[in-house]
Point group: C2
Chain length 177, copies 2
Amino acid sequence: MPLNPPAVGRGGTAPLMPASGIRNERDAIMKISIAKLNDIPELCELLHSLFDQEAEFIPDQQAQQRGLAEVIGRPDVGDILVARDGVEIIGMVNLLYTISTALGERVALLEDMVVSPSRRGQGIGSTLLNHAIRFATERDCKRITLLTDGDNEGAQKFYMRHGFSKSAMTVFRLSLT
Amino acid sequence: MPLNPPAVGRGGTAPLMPASGIRNERDAIMKISIAKLNDIPELCELLHSLFDQEAEFIPDQQAQQRGLAEVIGRPDVGDILVARDGVEIIGMVNLLYTISTALGERVALLEDMVVSPSRRGQGIGSTLLNHAIRFATERDCKRITLLTDGDNEGAQKFYMRHGFSKSAMTVFRLSLT
């Protein structure tokens, strides 16, 4: 009998990474772990497919390698979670840590949520996001914030299904390059 | 003759903090420096006036003290800049540092931009924001991202006057408390 995906954990005590792997809705076995430096080439491919699709970002492999190495090498900056089917990486999500002066606590930014294009529609993203929520909770984060394209209704519905609410705040950016 | 406010610096070489202080548009002398732990009580008052006004936040002094102490005590997390007229703190802005996997570089989140209610309309916010942009540039940040209330047209125009562009991305949040 397939296990259910891990519940959206908020201070729950379930073990973070069951040794047996996680079965998602369509019965694919996947294991989720923290990315290592030697995962970077595969993660770059996943990021390429993401930035290719997002309106505001242009894929740049060297930049992605540098950024991934910074996050993977510095656990205080963030953690990248990778989903694997066997040895193949089939999804990733990036949790970056910062401090909220409003909450007085650690909070996370969730970025780079992406499933390998050939493996979409199998519930992998859902399993990975639930895992990331539980992971952030266990890392003492009191809030997760993410940005998604304003016209990407599919992504917005996906995040709302997982408990996220649309904020009334608007994003502004200034490039310093 | 009053000096102009510091230009929006992008890799410029002007000194970060002129010893003489900065004159803003209406000729008030202000000095901008990095916040110290003993600034926290005054910064809490400023944050109170900000969170009172923002739709998504509720002022909580103990939380604010904790959050400010975390940022001030850990320069890798961020820097809080304070504007002073004499000894009085008249404005603040918080720069939190993280890594962009898209740019492969350090980027900043700008939060808690607030001028003392009795000192608004004197160009203090403008001077402080220009200073924060230059400060982030000198700290090797390649982008600044900020969130502001979607219905706060005044704030949005303020940021656009300083070079920020409205992003097409939408904010989603999940509370983990």
